[in-house]
Amino acid sequence: MQRAVIAMTQPAIAVENLVKQYGQTLALQGISFQVYPGEVFGYLGPNGAGKTTTIRLLAGLSSPTSGACWVLGQPTFKNPALYRHLGIVFEESHLYERLTGMENLRFFGALHGVPTARIQELLETYDLVKAAKRPVRTYSKGMKRRLFICRALLHDPEVLIMDEPTSGLDPTSAAVIHAAIDHYRKQGKTIFLSTHDMSEAEALCDRVAFLSKGRIAALDQPKALMRRYGQPVVVIQLKPAAEAVDTLEKAVSSDQVSWEDELLTVRLPLDEPGLGAKIDQLRDWGQIISIHTQEASLGEVFRQVTGTKLP
């Protein structure tokens, strides 16, 4: 996938030493990062890491305990003028369930001063024309999410903040959202994408930040992170001889071996000393079906960097 060229100009989003405390809980412990115009920035972390808190701060719905954040050079807190340039997709679809899809968009369109033609255009783009006259409570989760994205895009914002946009969606609905993000990126817009789906982040994001316990543990391009922290492995699939299974499972570390499609799969670090001898030993214990090298996934890199595993 071709990445958008990141313009190294004034950042679209800037966060500086941001701290947020709720009572005794320190949700964010001084995070800093910048998102550049035209960039899709992935914000990755498990539940409770502080992703939604960051988004509420960026959206101006919450004030920082200390530090600051800016969108398009403007402070986010108590700055209604900012919302002309900023679209937000919350984790839950905050829509009026008793109103139809069209009525919801008309209402939010009126708040932004958007013409009806724009509403029609978005309904067509997100395949909601037929459903537009139905109450939102009759929509599936995927349809609600699409409608909510339409709501966020009504005023064609320059910066789009998305909080877990594909969480709980089926693959087809998630693919529609991914296509929307890609389409929006191609228009040169900036997207801040909070997610805990590593494959989504790897496929869509120009850069990612790993958030763990209110701190940024790592920030870079996915490939760079994988190169820096990821450990390539040799994956060997073999059909072991019946009498060798017990011996083999004892000889190889348990986190390096698993059963996949009735084949024993062994993953050995590429830089492991005596790798060749180990492969030879495996050959003695059974019939090797395949052998190949594999890059570390972003999820594995996240686990290595933060010490936590994403669901």
Partner: protein
């Protein structure tokens, strides 16, 4: 302030209200109940009193009452005074006459129901005087003024109840729902500013009270013109603004819709009860005078029942305007404080 955005919020709230069963019930219930007020204006059935009779003359008296007062009294015999008094105490009969020979009879009346007490006293005095062969002579000719429709005397109370119900119950629930479901956040990340959001909500509540009140007046065939009509409208607007503001403050502080309903139920009765019982004692009067509902009820009574002009309702409009202003400012402060705290 952007009129388009405020109008959008008002229209959206009306659309939502029309499809929200809870709101519809809260709005339609007082409307339907007000139809009973119209029934009060219809020719009424004469009141029939249940009267027990006992004593040695009870047989003659019963025969007389059945013949002479069949349209007002239903007579039933009692074996002794104790049994009859027990029946009165238990509310089974309205009165007991102990008919023993002599100049005067004794009648025991049920004092628990003041609505029956006075007409029954008149009926018994007239009928028993006739039984004794005397004519009961009234010494005064009663001429009734303000004999308008009965509903106009009940409507001010019902309009006050409705304004409080819509303002406090409906608005608090509606606002708490916006918070709970996150739609308030969706509005707050649009170009609408705090003042526009609150004004939109306030106008919705006020218009809803005015629409329901107008339908109620129309259903009860109340025709108001000129100053009384304008005074009633202004009173309703000021009352609606006050109660809507109270509803919004409740909605702001409630953590959920159910919490908002619970709080508004607690607030609703203390708002209404002192206002309608203000004339019972100096204490209830003093309690009522600190509530906007008291001024709304009294003002509407003057406007609807006595066709009062501006000057006559000035004493109600001014305090009510004060309540509307103070409560609106408190709502704005509460909005900023509550949402800042959540921030």
């Amino acid at each position: 302030m952007n009129i388009g955005r405020i109008t959008a919020i008002v229209c959206k709230d009306f659309l939502e209200a029309l499809r929200n069963k809870t709101v519809l019930i809260a709005v339609l219930l007082p409307l339907v109940a007000s139809l009973f007020l119209a029934a009060v204006d219809n020719p009424q059935q004469p009141q029939m009193f249940l009267v027990g009779v006992t004593g040695s003359e009870s047989r003659q008296l019963t025969l007389f009452l059945k013949e002479a007062a069949a349209d007002a009294i239903v007579v039933s015999p009692y074996r002794d005074a104790a049994a009859g008094k027990e029946a009165v105490t238990q509310g089974q009969i309205h009165a007991l006459i102990v008919a023993e020979p002599g100049e005067r009879f004794i009648a025991y009346l049920d004092g628990a129901n003041p609505m029956n007490y006075f007409p029954l006293k008149d009926v018994l005095q007239t009928v028993l005087s006739a039984y004794k062969g005397r004519r009961f002579e009234p010494v005064v000719d009663l001429v009734i003024l303000n004999q308008g429709k009965t509903s106009t005397s009940l409507l001010p109370l019902w309009l006050t109840v409705t304004a409080v119900m819509i303002g406090v119950m409906v608005l608090s629930g509606s606002f708490a729902e916006e918070k709970e479901k996150g739609t308030l956040d969706s509005i707050r990340v649009s170009s609408a500013v705090d003042g526009e959001i609150l004004l939109g909500k306030g106008i919705f509540g006020t218009l809803l009270v005015l629409v329901v009140s107008s339908i109620m007046l129309w259903l009860n065939k109340v025709e108001l013109k000129g100053e009384p009509a304008a005074a009633a409208a202004l009173l309703l607007i000021l009352g609606a603004v006050s109660f809507t503001a109270i509803g919004l403050i409740i909605g702001l502080h409630a953590r959920s819709q159910s919490a908002a309903r619970a709080i508004s139920t607690l607030v609703y009765l203390p708002l209404i009860f002192p206002a309608v019982t203000a004339d019972l004692s100096p204490i209830t009067r003093r309690a009522a005078e600190v509530l906007p509902s008291f001024y709304l009820y009294r003002g509407l009574r003057k406007a609807l029942q006595y066709q009062a002009d501006w000057e006559s309702v000035g004493g109600e409009i001014l305090p009510l305007a004060g309540f509307a202003l103070v409560l609106s400012l408190l709502t704005l402060l509460a909005y900023r404080r509550t949402l800042d705290r959540e921030r």
